[in-house]
C-alpha cells in the first residue's frame, strides 16, 4: 500500500511534520495514545512499520504529556545551545555519562532532530579524555534493528517450547511481582537469584540493595566477564575495599607495565592515554620512559620505549625480581656500569636470558632513580596476588595515591556472590526464580561453568538484555534492556565524579533499565526512571537537589559537589609472597608443546562479544594483525616453527578435556610458547551481522571459552598445542606474512622513510633528524616556489587578497599517537619483525593520513581518527555485510576485506568512514 493510500485510510499522518499534526487527530488519541503499546497489528495505520510507529508513539506520548505514560514530559537541559536558540535542523548537544564495556565515559552527545548522531568527549569534564571504539559505535548499537525482538512485540515469553508469545511488560510485571512475593514469603527470598555484573552505577546499586533488603536471602551474583574481577579482589585484599584503578601517568617518569594494557583495552585506558601523552612531548616538554613486559602484543606494548616478551607464568617472578632489585638499590648497592661494548639490545647474538637481565637491570635502576615518579602497572590477567604485589610495590615507591589511585567501586558494599556460587546454588535446587541482567553469561562465562544447564534447572528464568541472545533464548522471559543512549542512568568514574546519563531519545525498542525493572518488581514507590536516578543523586548529594541544581548537573554532566568516596591510598593488607626464583627464560628451541600458555585478549571492538552484531566494530581492524571479522591464534614465528605450523593453518589447543581450534596468525614478538586469542567471537545468536545460526548467518570467528576457566579467565596455563593442517584465509586489511621476500624487503626499506622515528638522544643531537637523510629522501627544491615547476596555485596562495581565507592543515604527533606505533620487538624475530611492525606503522600513518584518514576499502578508519562522518558510513559495514552478495562474515575471504567497508576498503568495507 502506498503512503498516499495509507494516509487516506488513517487519520494519523504517517509522516508527521509537527507534533500537533500527529496529535491533532482524535482517533489517534483514542486508539493509540491511551494504551501503552498497540497490540494488534490491525490497529496500525497501514503503510507505517510497527517500529516506526512505536517511535512516533513514544515521541507523542512524551511530548503530549499524557498522564500515565512511562516517560512523562521532562526537560533535558541541552548542553550548548539553549532551547530558545535552537535552530531546527541544527544539532544540539547534551552531556551524558554512562558505563559502557567496563568503563565510565563522560560524554557529549550530538543530536539532530531528536536523534543522537554522534558522541564526543565532554571536554569540560575534569576527567574527559577522548572516546573509544565502543563509545563511537554505541550510536550504531542504538539503531541496530536486531536489537528488537523481531516483529512480535517487545517482550518475549516462552510457553512450553514455543517462544515469541507476544506479550507486554505488564504481563511480565504481574508474573515477576508474584515471584518476588512468593520468594519473600518463603525463607526471605532464598529462591530468588539475580545475576548481574559489577557496576559503577549508584542507582543500580541502590535498587539492588533495595531488592536485597526486601529479599535478604536472595542470591545476587555478580561476575566480570573479562577477568572475573581480579582488580576487586586485589584491592579488597590490599585496601580493604573493592576499588577501581585509575592512572595519572602525567606524573610518572618511569612506567613499568607488566602484562597489562593501560593504553589499550584496560578499563580507564582513555585517561591513562591522555595523561601518558602529556609526558611524551620531546620538543618542548618532558619524556617519560615506558617499559613493557608482556606476552603478546598490546597497544601499550607498541608504545613502549623498550618492550620485552615474557611468558605470563614468569611474570610474577619477574615482578618479584623487580621488587628485589629496587630493594637492593635502595640498600645502597652500587651501580654497575655495563654501558661499554655492549651489543644493541635487539642484536641477534644476545641470548634471551642476557636480554632479560639487561632489561631488568636498566628497569630497576630507572625505577630506583625515579623514586616516587615510578609506577608499576600489573595486569589483572596475572591474578589478584600479582596485582596486589604491584600495589605494594607502588606503595613502597611512593606512587600509590598519586600516579596509581584507587577509587572505591560504587557497588563495593553490595553483598554479591560469584557466578560459580550461583551455579552451585542452582544445582543444589535452591533457586526458583533466576533473573539475568545482561552480559549473556552463556557466551561470556568461563567454559567450566555450565550456565545452560543451570538455567535449565530453574523453574522461572528471566533475561533482561539488549539482544535476544544465546542466554535469552533459554529463558522463560526475554525482556529488552534499554540502550545507554536511551536510558536514565548514572555512574561514578575513576576520579570519583558522579554523573547522570540522560536519555537522548525515547527507548526505540521499549527497553527498560535494570534499576527500573527492579523498581517495578519490588513495587518501589518511585518507578519513574528519571526519578529513580534523581533520588540517587539526592542521596549522593546528601540533600534534595533543587531543580536548578539538578538541571545544572544534567547540563554540565558533572558537579564538583557530587563526588563518590575519595580515593584510597592506605594499604591495609599485605600481598602474598611472590615466587623467589628468578624468572626463567624459555629459548625458542625449548618450547614445550605440552606447556603452552594461552592469553585471552579483549578484541578491539567486540569486548566480551556483546558488540558482535555491530558491523562497524567487526570491520574494525584489530591492532597489530589488522584482522577483521574473526579471530586467530597469534603466535611467534619461532613458536610456529617449533610446532611445525605456518600462518593460516589451524592449531588445536587442548586443556584437559576441552579443546579449541583456531587458525594461526604469526606475529613476531610474542613470547615463546605463548598463544594469544581474542574472546567474544563465535556467537551463534548475536544478530544478522554477528552470527545467527537459526537464520543461516554463520558465527563470526571462533569461541575460545572452552579452555577458559573460572580460576583464570585471562590466561590458561599448561595447554597442549598441536598443529592441524586445515587452511584458513584471514580477512585482514593488510598482509604481513603472506608477503613475498621482495615485498618484505622493500616494505622495510620504505618504512624507514615513511615512518620517521628517533630517540631522545638523536633529537638532542640532530633536532631536524626527521628531515635529514637517510630518514628523509632528498627533495630538490628548485625554482621560484621551491618546486620543480611553476604552478598557478602558488600565485594564488601568495596573493595577499586571499589572506583572509584560512588554509587548513593538520599535524599529527606520532610520539603521542597510539595507533601509529612501530614496535621494536625484542623477541627473536630478526628483521622480519621490524618489517612487519613497520608495515603496521606505515599503515597507521597512512590512515591517519595525508589530508585524509581512512583504512582500507571496507574498513572504517581506526576509531581514533574517525568520527563525525562515521555516522553515515557506519551503517555501511553493517549493510555491506548483509548485502546479499557479500561474503558471509564467518567465511572471511579477501573479498570480505575488500569491500566491507570501509571504508568500509574496500573492504576494509566499512567502509570507510571518515574523519
Amino acid at each position: 500500500m502506498t503512503q498516499k493510500q495509507s494516509s487516506k485510510n488513517s487519520q494519523a499522518p504517517n509522516y508527521w511534520r509537527s507534533l500537533s499534526e500527529l496529535n491533532g487527530s482524535s482517533e489517534f488519541k483514542e486508539k493509540f495514545l491511551h494504551r501503552e503499546f498497540p497490540v494488534a497489528a490491525s490497529e496500525f495505520p497501514e503503510g507505517v512499520s510497527r517500529r516506526r510507529w512505536m517511535q512516533l508513539m513514544g515521541a507523542s506520548l512524551a511530548m503530549a504529556g499524557v498522564a500515565g505514560c512511562r516517560y512523562p514530559e521532562e526537560v533535558i537541559a541541552p548542553f550548548v545551545i539553549r532551547p530558545e536558540g535552537r535552530v531546527p535542523g541544527e544539532f544540539y548537544e547534551r552531556a551524558t555519562n554512562f558505563e559502557l564495556a567496563g568503563t565510565v565515559h563522560n560524554l557529549i552527545v550530538r543530536c539532530f532532530d531528536g536523534r543522537p548522531q554522534h558522541v564526543e568527549p565532554n571536554t569540560t569534564h575534569p576527567s574527559s579524555a577522548g572516546t573509544n571504539t565502543y563509545v563511537q559505535a554505541s550510536i550504531l548499537g542504538l539503531y541496530d534493528p536486531d536489537r528488537s525482538r523481531g516483529d512480535d512485540g517487545p517482550v518475549l515469553k516462552r510457553i512450553g517450547d514455543a517462544r515469541k508469545q507476544e506479550t507486554t511488560w505488564e504481563d511480565f510485571f504481574t508474573v515477576g511481582r508474584a515471584a518476588i512475593k512468593k520468594a519473600a514469603s518463603n525463607n526471605e527470598g532464598k529462591g530468588f537469584a539475580l545475576l548481574t555484573s559489577p557496576t559503577e552505577s549508584p542507582t543500580t546499586v541502590r535498587m539492588l540493595a533495595e531488592l536485597q533488603a526486601k529479599l535478604p536471602q536472595a542470591t545476587i551474583a555478580s561476575y566480570n566477564t573479562i577477568d572475573g574481577g581480579v582488580m576487586r579482589q586485589a584491592t579488597q585484599q590490599m585496601l580493604g575495599t573493592a576499588c577501581e584503578q585509575s592512572l595519572d601517568l602525567s606524573k610518572a617518569k618511569v612506567i613499568f607495565v607488566l602484562g597489562a594494557d593501560p593504553l589499550g583495552n584496560d578499563p580507564g585506558s582513555l585517561l591513562a592515554s591522555r595523561t601518558f601523552a602529556e609526558k611524551r612531548d620531546p620538543t618542548t616538554g618532558e619524556m617519560s620512559r615506558l617499559y613493557v613486559a608482556e606476552a603478546g602484543y598490546s597497544v601499550t606494548g607498541t608504545m613502549a620505549d623498550t618492550r620485552l616478551a615474557v611468558r605470563p607464568s614468569q611474570m610474577p617472578a619477574f615482578l618479584a625480581e623487580v621488587g628485589r632489585g629496587v630493594d637492593r638499590l635502595k640498600a645502597g648497592e652500587s651501580h654497575d656500569d655495563h654501558s661499554h661494548d655492549e651489543l644493541p639490545f635487539n642484536h641477534e647474538d644476545i641470548t634471551a636470558t642476557e636480554r632479560q637481565e639487561r632489561f631488568l637491570d636498566c628497569l630497576v635502576h630507572d625505577i630506583h632513580a625515579a623514586g616516587e615518579q615510578a609506577v608499576v602497572i600489573v595486569g589483572t590477567g596475572l591474578g589478584a596476588d600479582a596485582v596486589a604485589a604491584g600495589i605494594e610495590l607502588n606503595k613502597k615507591l611512593g606512587s600509590l595515591g598519586t600516579i596509581q589511585t584507587f577509587t572505591p567501586c560504587a557497588d563495593r558494599d553490595l553483598q554479591t556472590k560469584s557466578l560459580a556460587e550461583l551455579v552451585d546454588a542452582i544445582n543444589a535446587g535452591d533457586i526458583e526464580t533466576l533473573m539475568i541482567a545482561g552480559n549473556n553469561p552463556l557466551v561470556t562465562a568461563p567454559g567450566d561453568v555450565d550456565v545452560a544447564a543451570a538455567i535449565g534447572k530453574v523453574k522461572q528464568t528471566v533475561y533482561l538484555g539488549e539482544y535476544d541472545d544465546e542466554t535469552a533464548v533459554l529463558c522463560n522471559w526475554s525482556l529488552p534492556m534499554s540502550h545507554p543512549l536511551e536510558s536514565w542512568s548514572d555512574c561514578v568514574n575513576g576520579q570519583g565524579y558522579y554523573g547522570i546519563g540522560q536519555p537522548q531519545i525515547l527507548p526505540l525498542m521499549g527497553g527498560r533499565t535494570l534499576a527500573e525493572v527492579i523498581a517495578f518488581l519490588i513495587e518501589s514507590e518511585v518507578t519513574d526512571p528519571m526519578l529513580i536516578v534523581r533520588k540517587t543523586a539526592d542521596e549522593i548529594a546528601g540533600k534534595s537537589l533543587k531543580e536548578r541544581e539538578w538541571r545544572q548537573l544534567l547540563h554540565d554532566g558533572f558537579s564538583d559537589a557530587l563526588k563518590g568516596p575519595a580515593a584510597i591510598s592506605d594499604v591495609s593488607g599485605t600481598a602474598k609472597e611472590l615466587p623467589s626464583e628468578t624468572p626463567e627464560v624459555v629459548a625458542a628451541k625449548d618450547i614445550d608443546e605440552n606447556n603452552f600458555e594461552v592469553v585471552f585478549t579483549v578484541p578491539d571492538g567486540l569486548y566480551d562479544g556483546r558488540f558482535a552484531n555491530n558491523g562497524w566494530l567487526q570491520e574494525l581492524p584489530q591492532p597489530i594483525t589488522k584482522l577483521t571479522w574473526g579471530n586467530g591464534a597469534l603466535i611467534g614465528p619461532a613458536t610456529a616453527a617449533k610446532l611445525g605450523i605456518k600462518h593460516g593453518y589451524y592449531i588445536t589447543l587442548r586443556r584437559g578435556e576441552s579443546k579449541i581450534e583456531l587458525p594461526v596468525y604469526e606475529v613476531p614478538g610474542i613470547a615463546p610458547g605463548v598463544v594469544t586469542v581474542s574472546i567474544g567471537y563465535g556467537r551463534t545468536r548475536a544478530g544478522m551481522v554477528g552470527g545467527m545460526t537459526d537464520y543461516s548467518v554463520d558465527a563470526v570467528g571462533i569461541d575460545v571459552s572452552p579452555i577458559r576457566t573460572t580460576d583464570s579467565m585471562s590466561i590458561a596455563y599448561s595447554v597442549e598445542a598441536r598443529p592441524n593442517y586445515s587452511e584458513y584465509e584471514f580477512a585482514t586489511t593488510q598482509n604481513h606474512w603472506a608477503i613475498d621476500e621482495l615485498g618484505r624487503e622493500e616494505t622495510e626499506r620504505r618504512s624507514y622513510n615513511l615512518v620517521r622515528e628517533g630517540t631522545v638522544e638523536l633529537l638532542n643531537k640532530v633536532p631536524t633528524f626527521a628531515n635529514e637523510q637517510p630518514k628523509a629522501p632528498h627533495v630538490p627544491k628548485v625554482g621560484e616556489y621551491g618546486s620543480l615547476q611553476y604552478e598557478p596555485i602558488q600565485e594564488i596562495e601568495k596573493d595577499p587578497a586571499f589572506d583572509f581565507a584560512p588554509q587548513w592543515g593538520m599535524a599529527i604527533d606520532l610520539s603521542k599517537c597510539l595507533a601509529a606505533t612501530p614496535v621494536w620487538s625484542l623477541a627473536k624475530a630478526k628483521t622480519t619483525c621490524r618489517s612487519s611492525v613497520r608495515n603496521k606503522f606505515a599503515t597507521a600513518v597512512k590512515c591517519t593520513g595525508c589530508v585524509s584518514t581512512r583504512t582500507s576499502k571496507a574498513t572504517p578508519t581506526t576509531l581514533k581518527s574517525s568520527t563525525s562522518r562515521w555516522l553515515v558510513s557506519t551503517a555501511k559495514p553493517h549493510l555491506a555485510n548483509r548485502f546479499a552478495r557479500s561474503p558471509r562474515p564467518s567465511t572471511p575471504t579477501k573479498a570480505s576485506t575488500r569491500w566491507l567497508t570501509t571504508g568500509v576498503s574496500e573492504r576494509v568495507t566499512v567502509r570507510t568512514t571518515a574523519r
Binding site: 598482509n735 606505515a842 599503515t843 569491500w899
Partner: protein, 474 residues
C-alpha cells in the same frame, strides 16, 4: 604442411625484377567476384552456425553481466584498493590494441602503396571496428555510475554547470577512441561501397537488393564515381593514418600521465603503438588463417600475405621486447626508488608469472618468424599469433595491475584476484567480437574485390610486360 599453390609458383620467393603475384592461380576478375561473394551468398556452413551460436551465447552472457554489474555496482569485479583499475581496463586496452591493425593495414599501407594489403584490409578493418566496439564497452560500464557516463562527453550541461576536466587523459581517451572509431567506420564503409554494389547486383532476393542498394549509395561504377571514390578514399586514409598512431598514444597517456610508479614513463606512447600493431596483426592472422581455408580464399589471401604480416609481427614484437628492456634500463638509470621497485616487482614479485608469460609470448615466440618455414606454415603462424594475443593481454595486465598493486605506501599494497564476473566479461567480450565478425562474414564482402581486381590488373600487366621483356631478350 604443404599448401598447393595452384600455378606451382611460390609467391613468397623474391624473384629479381619481378613482383610476386598477390593473387594466385589463373584467377580472373570473375573468379574473384565469385569467390568473395560465395561467402555471403551460399548457405551458412555448420561450422559457421555453430560458431555463431557459441559467440552469440557469450554475447548474451556479456549483456546479462552488464545488467548485473550496473544493477549491483562495480564491486562485482575484483577491483579493490589499491587496484582501482582491474580487468575492465586491461580488456579495454587489449581491445583497443587489437583495433589497430585494420586501419593501419588499410590506411598506412595504402598510403605506402603496399599492394599486398588489398586481400586482407577489409576483414582487418572490420575487425578494427568490432574490436573498438568491444573496447568501447568497457570504459562506459567501468565507471562507478554508468548511467552518468555521458558526463565524460563535453557538452554544455545544465545539470552540471561545468565541463569535463580537459586536463584529464581519460577525457582525451574519449575523444581519441571515438574519433578513431568513427573514422575507421567511415573508412571501412567507404571502401566497401563498390563491393556492396557488386552484392546488390548479384542479389536474387528483393530485400537483399534493397538493403545493399541503400548501402551502396547508388554506386554505378562510372568513372566519375571511381574518381570521387579514389579521392575520398585517399583523403580518409590520410586522415586515418595519424589516428592509428594517436589513439593508442592517448590510451597510453591514461597511464603515462599519472604518477603511479610503473605507469609514469615517457616510453609508453611508442611502446603502446608498437604493441597495438603487434597484437592487431596477430589477431588478424588468428582470424584470417582459419577463415581463408574455411571460406576457400587461399588464392586471394596467399602465403605471401601471411608472410608479410609475420614480418610485421616479428618487427613489432622485437620493438615491444626492446621497450621492455628499455623500461628496465630507464628505471635503473632514473634512480627513482619507487620506479625501480615497480619494475623489479613486475618481474620477480608476486605477479612474476604474468610478467614471464608476457615476455615469452610477446618477445620470444615471435622470434620463430626469423625462420621462413615458420612464416609460411599457417598452423605455426596461428599458434604463435594466439600466443601473441595472450601475451598482449598479459602485457596490459602487467602494466595495469602490478603497478597499482604496489605503489608508494606498503601499507596499501594488495594482491588482485579476478572474480567470476571479470572472467565472464572477458569471455563475453570475445563473444561480442566473434558475433560481429561472423555476421560480417555472412553479410558483407570479406575481401575488397575492387582493389584485388586492380592489383590483379597490375599483376597481369606486369606479367605481360615481363613476358614481353623476356621475349625481347630472346
Amino acid at each position: 604442411m604443404s599448401l598447393a599453390i595452384p600455378n606451382g609458383l611460390d609467391n613468397t620467393v623474391e624473384r629479381p625484377g619481378e613482383r610476386a603475384p598477390l593473387v594466385l592461380g589463373n584467377t580472373n576478375y570473375h573468379d574473384i567476384t565469385e569467390s568473395v561473394c560465395q561467402v555471403a551468398e551460399r548457405k551458412p556452413s555448420a561450422g559457421w552456425v555453430g560458431g555463431f551460436l557459441v559467440a552469440f551465447a557469450l554475447l548474451q552472457m556479456l549483456g546479462l553481466l552488464i545488467v548485473y554489474l550496473i544493477y549491483t555496482g562495480v564491486g562485482v569485479w575484483g577491483n579493490r584498493a589499491p587496484i582501482f583499475w582491474g580487468w575492465p581496463i586491461v580488456n579495454f586496452v587489449f581491445w583497443v590494441g587489437i583495433g589497430h591493425a585494420g586501419t593501419l593495414i588499410s590506411a598506412i599501407l595504402y598510403l605506402f602503396r603496399q599492394e599486398w594489403r588489398t586481400s586482407i584490409n577489409r576483414a582487418a578493418e572490420a575487425m578494427t571496428i568490432f574490436a573498438v566496439a568491444c573496447a568501447g564497452t568497457f570504459p562506459g560500464i567501468h565507471v562507478g555510475r554508468a548511467w552518468l557516463a555521458f558526463w565524460l562527453a563535453p557538452y554544455p550541461s545544465l545539470n552540471l554547470w561545468m565541463w569535463p576536466q580537459f586536463r584529464s587523459p581519460l577525457l582525451w581517451d574519449v575523444f581519441a577512441v571515438s574519433t578513431y572509431g568513427t573514422v575507421s567506420l567511415l573508412f571501412w564503409y567507404m571502401g566497401m561501397v563498390p563491393d556492396l554494389a557488386t552484392f546488390r547486383d548479384r542479389s536474387k532476393n528483393k530485400y537483399r537488393r534493397m538493403i545493399y542498394g541503400l548501402l551502396c549509395l547508388g554506386w554505378s561504377g562510372s568513372s566519375r564515381h571511381w574518381m570521387r571514390y579514389e579521392k575520398a578514399y585517399a583523403i580518409l586514409a590520410a586522415l586515418a593514418a595519424p589516428l592509428v598512431l594517436s589513439v593508442h598514444t592517448i590510451v597510453s597517456f591514461d597511464f603515462a600521465v599519472s604518477q603511479v610508479p610503473g605507469w609514469h614513463t615517457t616510453i609508453f606512447p611508442p611502446y603502446f603503438v608498437a604493441g597495438a600493431i603487434f597484437s592487431g596483426f596477430a589477431m588478424v592472422l588468428t582470424l584470417m588463417i582459419p577463415a581463408r581455408s574455411m571460406l576457400n580464399l587461399e588464392k586471394l589471401i596467399t602465403i605471401r600475405h601471411l608472410e608479410n604480416m609475420c614480418k610485421i609481427i616479428l618487427a613489432t614484437g622485437s620493438l615491444v621486447g626492446l621497450a621492455y628492456g628499455t623500461e628496465f634500463f630507464i628505471a635503473w638509470y632514473g634512480q627513482v626508488p619507487a620506479e625501480q621497485f615497480a619494475f623489479i616487482n613486475r618481474a620477480f614479485g608476486p605477479y612474476w608469472w604474468a610478467y614471464w608469460t608476457m615476455v615469452s609470448c610477446n618477445v620470444i615466440s615471435p622470434q620463430l618468424f626469423w625462420f621462413k618455414k615458420c612464416r609460411t606454415t599457417p598452423w605455426i603462424i596461428v599458434v604463435v599469433c594466439i600466443f601473441v594475443n595472450i601475451g598482449m593481454w598479459f602485457e596490459r595486465f602487467v602494466i595495469t595491475i602490478t603497478s597499482l598493486s604496489r605503489d608508494y605506501l606498503p601499507s596499501a599494497w594488495a594482491y588482485f584476484s579476478p572474480t567470476w564476473v571479470d572472467w565472464g566479461m572477458l569471455i563475453g567480450s570475445f563473444g561480442l567480437f566473434f558475433t560481429l565478425f561472423l555476421l560480417f562474414c555472412r553479410t558483407l564482402p570479406v575481401i575488397n574485390m575492387a582493389e584485388v581486381k586492380s592489383s590483379l590488373a597490375k599483376q597481369h600487366h606486369m606479367a605481360h610486360a615481363a613476358a614481353e621483356h623476356g621475349e625481347a631478350e630472346h
